[in-house]
């Protein structure tokens, strides 16, 4: 049996505090996987409605658009290795759009 880790992920259209604002997912642990790889797994296999910055992700630490709070610290989803259970929250300094997506990095108003 392969090892799994628990991803506790913020959900919702605004910042929510407390347990009910989070959802847990079990993700198979692959050595050398990033937080982004884990979220891709959840989206592909468990819940296709999860929102995290991905539509123009560079995955190489170049665009700096995938910043979130990872276990309370600010980090890039694509460059943070998964080694154990995680709590993922939207960037604390930005208004939330949905789940883990904030207004971070948007220049125009659309």
């Amino acid at each position: 049996m392969s090892d799994t880790v628990r991803f506790r992920v913020h959900r919702g259209l605004s910042r929510s505090e407390g347990e009910e604002g989070f959802q847990d997912f079990e993700v198979p642990l692959v050595r050398g996987m990033s937080v982004m790889d884990g979220l891709d797994y959840i989206y592909d296999h468990l819940d296709g409605s999860l929102a995290y910055y991905d539509h123009a992700a560079c995955n190489q630490g170049i665009c700096q658009r995938c910043l979130i709070q990872i276990n309370g610290a600010t980090g890039l989803m694509c460059q943070t290795l998964v080694t154990g259970d995680l709590t993922l929250e939207p960037l604390s300094t930005q208004p939330v759009e949905r789940d883990l997506v904030t207004k971070w990095g948007r220049k125009s108003d659309g």
């Binding site: 692959v30 050398g32 592909d44 123009a56 560079c58 759009e97 949905r98």
Partner: protein, 589 residues
């Protein structure tokens, strides 16, 4: 639906889009640039190494040592040989002529080089795009980011607007304009691993084709060699690609054999020291994997080879201090190479030669529609060695000026509201469809299929199967495809449903062209036709859609000053000849 107006709409926030905006503003056109991702932080441009090439005399004019013995003629001849003579020579001439001016203005606008050779400066893709974005902004370009343009609108045979989608809010936007420049890049996301950023899904090429414009050379895809496959966090990086060119190293198959030893040593030497590396090593790697000598994740091992470690490491650290590459930490990679362990690597789609067919004004066959950069047909022909980052600037500058000129002289009527409603209906359909297909799984299957059937090595049997499965998905899956939920705010599944249509289109066009080209040339190798057939195939395959009917036409390449070769020659002999005919100018290009 919100409506915005402009004279010229530019689709794409990479180097080609910014340079087109500068030229369009210089002509006085009201210019709106829409980018699917964040400005200057998406697409291929900021991911590039990057080199900017021009001939050695131009390099001297720009203040570098260059090569006094070089000339426009020599650089052109080298580019056309590298392109295996499939280049539109008139476009290639423009590239050679305009290069020095594009290089000098890039430096004037604040881009810093850190190295140079006879024909190139080496800088960063970020440095190039930031300098151009700043200039485009200074000249008064309007911008919208995180917004995808999804369909072109045509009235009385001329482009009159487009429909876009704000990917964050889900709001649709009608753009009323007189000319459109596509600068939307390639379709890297149709492959795995993805090297460009994830919004590159061939949208521009697919919407141009739907609107009736011709596309050409779609079978040619350049694969960057030596791209890591494993561990997942390294997938798609070009770090080992760049390292192999700078520091050396070699490739081993799963049996530990250094399989490059089976090729002509002169070819391996040329490929190891120039940007011929991409096509040649990706081809050699694909042969190993197809012969069953691949590694667990479908590649080969990149190892440091016979280079002594201190020498290897010193070279690596010169470009990547502390083994840091932009925001990523590769110290574990350094440790592995030092300890003689291999890194699993393979070719990964990096540059698409095919695209919207354009003439010397970078106008497509559809009046009012222009294309620049990677989404336009490449002036590099069947294989690229010189810089695509310079191509995006040269072609963007021409397209921007010409489109502004067209907008002034050919004002179009405003798009009809009924057409806008029909297109809006199409865009929102995945939100209404009941069948909640798992689009993530479909996309990931498609990426794997593209990587195996439309990689560096192709054959009829696989291409026929692939075209059939693409057509089946287009007919059976697309019409019922539904996002996993109805919300409009940052709905990834909705975005992916819309992208899937475009990826299916460009892959189908690419696979059909690859099937039709019964020869091997440049980056297109057909196992079942291992010859370069200069008598039959110095031609471009053009595809178009005419009232729903698929059309295909074959046109001779446009020749300039260089005479075309003749005869049917074994593929590797042709490549070897092309490598050897390089002029006496040094450097990596």
């Amino acid at each position: 639906m919100k409506t915005v107006k402009a004279d010229v709409l530019i689709v794409g926030g990479g180097g080609a889009g910014f340079r087109a905006a500068i030229a369009s503003r210089q002509e006085g056109a009201e210019t709106l640039l829409i980018s699917k991702g964040p400005l200057a932080r998406c697409g291929a441009s900021p991911m590039a190494g990057a080199d900017l090439t021009c001939h050695g005399v131009g390099m001297r004019e720009a203040g570098f040592f260059g090569e006094p013995n070089d000339s426009e003629e020599k650089f052109l001849s080298d580019i056309v040989h590298q392109g295996c003579f499939l280049n539109d020579q008139v476009l290639a001439e423009r590239f050679v002529q305009d290069g020095p001016s594009r290089m000098m203005e890039t430096l004037d606008w604040g881009c810093q080089p850190y190295l140079c050779d006879e024909r190139a400066i080496f800088t960063s893709g970020i440095g190039i795009v930031d300098a151009h974005l700043k200039e485009a902004r200074r000249l008064g370009t309007r911008f919208m980011d995180d917004t995808a343009v999804l369909e072109l609108m045509v009235q009385e045979g001329q482009v009159c607007g487009a429909i876009g989608l704000d990917l964050r809010s889900g709001e649709r936007i009608l753009i009323d304009c007189h000319a459109v420049i596509l600068a939307s890049g390639g379709w890297h996301k149709a492959y795995t691993p993805v090297t460009g950023s994830k919004e590159l899904t061939g949208d521009g090429v697919a919407m141009a084709y739907r609107a009736g414009a011709e596309v050409a050379n779609m079978e040619f895809v350049t694969f960057a060699c030596n791209v890591p496959l494993w561990p997942p966090i390294w997938r798609g990086s070009i770090v080992t690609y760049a390292m192999s060119l700078m520091c050396g190293g070699t490739l081993e198959n799963a049996d530990g054999e250094r399989f490059l030893d089976r090729f002509d040593p002169e070819m391996v030497e040329i490929a190891s020291t120039t940007e011929w590396n991409k096509s040649f090593f990706s081809f050699a790697t694909a042969l190993e994997v197809r012969a069953g000598r691949g590694t667990e994740h479908g590649g080969v091992y990149y190892v440091k080879g016979d280079t002594p470690w201190p020498e290897f490491e010193a070279k690596a650290l010169r470009s990547y201090p502390d083994w840091k590459v932009k925001g990523a930490d590769f110290s574990e990679l350094g440790r592995r190479l030092r300890d003689g362990e291999g890194v699993e690597v393979a070719g990964a789609a990096e540059y698409f030669e095919g695209g919207v067919w354009v003439d010397e004004r970078f106008a497509s066959t559809l009046p009012g529609l222009y294309a620049a950069g990677e989404c336009a047909v490449s002036l590099f022909g069947a294989n690229r060695v010189a810089a695509a980052t310079m191509e995006m600037l040269v072609t963007g500058a021409i397209a921007g000026k010409e489109a502004a000129d067209f907008a002034r002289t050919h004002p179009s009527a405003s798009p009809h509201p009924t057409t806008a409603r029909v297109l809006d209906d199409k865009i929102t359909k995945p939100l209404r469809n009941r069948e909640r297909v798992d689009v993530g799984q479909l996309r990931s299957d498609l990426q794997k299929a593209a990587a195996s059937y439309l990689g560096p090595v192709r054959c009829e049997r696989e291409l026929v199967d692939f075209v059939r499965s693409l057509e089946r998905m287009q007919q059976e899956v697309l019409p019922v495809l539904g996002a996993s939920h109805e919300g409009q705010i940052y709905n990834k599944a909705w975005i992916e449903c819309l992208e899937l249509e475009n990826m299916l289109t460009v892959l189908e066009l690419s696979a059909r062209s690859a099937l039709q080209r019964t020869e091997s040339r440049g980056v297109h190798y057909r196992e079942d036709h291992p010859f370069s057939d200069n008598d039959q195939w110095l031609r471009e395959i053009h595809l178009s859609l005419d009232r729903g009917e698929r059309r295909s036409a074959v046109h001779p390449v446009r020749q300039g000053s260089l005479p075309l070769p003749s005869g049917r020659i074994p593929y590797l002999t042709m490549i070897h000849d092309m490598m050897r005919s390089h002029s006496d100018v040094g450097g990596h290009h």
